[in-house]
C-alpha cells in the first residue's frame, strides 16, 4: 500500500494530469488535474452536466464503451497510466470498482450476485466462494438481513438493500478503489444514512471517490472535495475548507445554493 508522504499528507492513489475528454465535438472535460488521496473519501460535486460522472467513469475506463469518446491526458493509478496501451482493462476494472446511481443487481440469487465477480475471475471452489460471499455481505452490512435467503432473488430486496448488495458484489473482487456515482440518490433518507455509514467504514481499507448532488452528503462523508463546473475543476481542497472558506466565488455560490 502507498505510505504516507513525507509532508504528512496522505500519498495519492490516483493522479490525474491534464485530462481532456470529448464526446464527438463536445468537450466534456477540460484540463483536469486531480490528486485522489489513498484511503480517504474524495467527493466530486457540481451542477448537473458539469462532467463529474464523466470524470468518474474515466477512472475505470467505462467511457471506452461509448462511441465517439476521445480522451487525452494521463490517469495514473499507483503511478501507472491506465490509458497506456499495455493496460489490461479487465484487471484495471477489477482494481477500480464502481457502484452505480441506480442499484443494478443481476437477476440472479443474492448469493450468485456476490459470487459473480470471483467466479468470472476463475474461482470455482465452493467453500472459498461461501467464505467470500459471507465476508463481503458482512462488510456491506447486509449479512444479518439476508443470511437466511441467500438463494432468494436479489431483485426482491428493497432499494437500500439492493445498493448494499451491489457494494458487497464489488467488495467480493477485492478492489483497491471504489467509485460511487450518486450511490444514494435513488434511496430514502434512512437507507441513505446506512450507505453513508458504510462508506465511512470502507475508507479504512479502500480509496473512495464519490459523485454526489447532495451537498450535505459531501460535507458529511468526504475528506476532500472537488468542485466541477462546465468540465473544469474550479476548486479542490480539504472538504472543510471548500465548505467553509471557498476561495472561488463560484464555489461559494454553488454550495450556498445560489445555482445548480
Amino acid at each position: 500500500m502507498v505510505a504516507t508522504g513525507p509532508d504528512g499528507r496522505q500519498a495519492a492513489k490516483i493522479v490525474v494530469e491534464n485530462l481532456n475528454l470529448f464526446y464527438g465535438n463536445l468537450q466534456a472535460l477540460r484540463d483536469v488535474y486531480l490528486r485522489v488521496p489513498s484511503r480517504a473519501i474524495t467527493a466530486l460535486i457540481g451542477p448537473s452536466g458539469c462532467g463529474k460522472t464523466t470524470f468518474l467513469r474515466t477512472l475505470n475506463r467505462l467511457n471506452d464503451l461509448i462511441d465517439g469518446v476521445r480522451i487525452s491526458g494521463k490517469v495514473l493509478l499507483d503511478g501507472q497510466d491506465i490509458y497506456d496501451a499495455a493496460t489490461d482493462v479487465t484487471s484495471l476494472r477489477r482494481r477500480v470498482g464502481m457502484v452505480f446511481q441506480k442499484p443494478n443487481p443481476f437477476p440472479m440469487s443474492i448469493y450468485d450476485n456476490v459470487a459473480y465477480g470471483p467466479r468470472i475471475h476463475g474461482l470455482r471452489q465452493r467453500r472459498l466462494l461461501d467464505e467470500i460471499v459471507e465476508k463481503s455481505l458482512r462488510r456491506a452490512a447486509l449479512w444479518e438481513e439476508v443470511k437466511d435467503r441467500l438463494r432468494g432473488p436479489a431483485v426482491g430486496l428493497s432499494g437500500g438493500q439492493q445498493q448494499r448488495l451491489c457494494i458487497a458484489r464489488l467488495l467480493a473482487v477485492q478492489p483497491e478503489v471504489i467509485l460511487m456515482d450518486e450511490p444514494s440518490s435513488a434511496l430514502d433518507p434512512v437507507s441513505t444514512l446506512r450507505i453513508e455509514e458504510l462508506i465511512r467504514e470502507l475508507k479504512e481499507e479502500y480509496t473512495i471517490v464519490i459523485v454526489t448532488h447532495n451537498m450535505q452528503q459531501a460535507a458529511r462523508v468526504s475528506d476532500v472535495t472537488a468542485f466541477f463546473l462546465n468540465g473544469e475543476i474550479i476548486e479542490y481542497d480539504a472538504t472543510e475548507v471548500v465548505f467553509t472558506r471557498p476561495r472561488d466565488p463560484r464555489t461559494e455560490a454553488y454550495i450556498t445554493g445560489r445555482f445548480g
Binding site: 464503451l65 476494472r93 443494478n104
Partner: protein, 279 residues
Amino acid sequence: MSHYWRRRLLNYLLLGLCVACTAVAVFPLLSILFYVAVRGFQALSPEFFTQMPRPVGEPGGGMANAVAGTFIMVGLAALLGLPVGIMAGIYLAEYGRGRLADVIRFMTDVFTGVPSVVIGVFIYTVVVTRMGSFSALAGGLALSLIIIPLVTRTTEELLRMVPYTLREASLALGATKARTIVSVVLRSAAGGVVTGVMLAIARAAGETAPLLFTALSSRHWSLALREPMASLPVYIYTYAISPFRDWQVQAWGAALVLLLTVLGLNLVARAVTRSRYRY
C-alpha cells in the same frame, strides 16, 4: 351538457366497435380449435401413434411414421437453426453497428416474410436436385430456414430489453464483453428467448409447403435422413384432399395432434418464462 353526452356516446360507440372487432377476430380461431378438437378426437386412439398407415379400404391403422418424421425433422431444424439464429441475434444486439448490421437486420425481416413455399423450392433446387432424391435432411434444412429469421429477431429484441446498467455492472467488475453477454445478458433474457424459440419451433412444426418439395412423404417406417420422410402436415394435406372417408377422418386426427403439440410447446415456454429472478 349536450357536449358531455356526445362524448359519452362516442365513447360507447368506439368501445362497442372494439368489442365487435375482437369477436370477429377470435370467432374463427375458436371455431377452428373446436372443430379440430371434435373431429380429430374421433380419429385418435393409441393405434394412431403406434400403427403404420394402411391401404385404402382397410380400416384402422395410424400415422406412427408421420409423428416420428415430424419430430425428427423439426428436431433437425432446431439443431441447425437455433445456434445460427441465437448467435445472429447476439451479434445484432451486442456487436452489430453501422450499415452491415442494418442490412442484415433488414434482410432478416424480409426473410421472415418470405412465403414458405419459396423456401421449399429453393431447397429443392439447391439440395434435392443435387442429392438426387427427396430426403429428411432437406426437409430439416428447409424448416431451419423458417426458424432462423424468427429466432434472430426475437433474440435481438429481447437482448436489447436487458437494461444497459446490468452490462455496465458486469464490465465494471472486470468481466469481458463475451463473459458479460453469456453470464448476464443472455441469462437475464433467457425466459424470453426460450419463448421465442418455442414459438419458432411450433411454427416450423406446422409448415407443409417446404416439406412437399424437400422431404416429400413416405408410406413406410423410415428413420434414414437421406431418404424421403413422412410428416404430419404433409399427411394432413394428402389425406384431407383424398376422396376416402377413412383418410379424411385420420387427417383430422393428425391436425389435432399437431395442434396439441404446438399448444404444448407454448405451455412449456410459458412455464419456463416464469423465472423467480426476473426483472
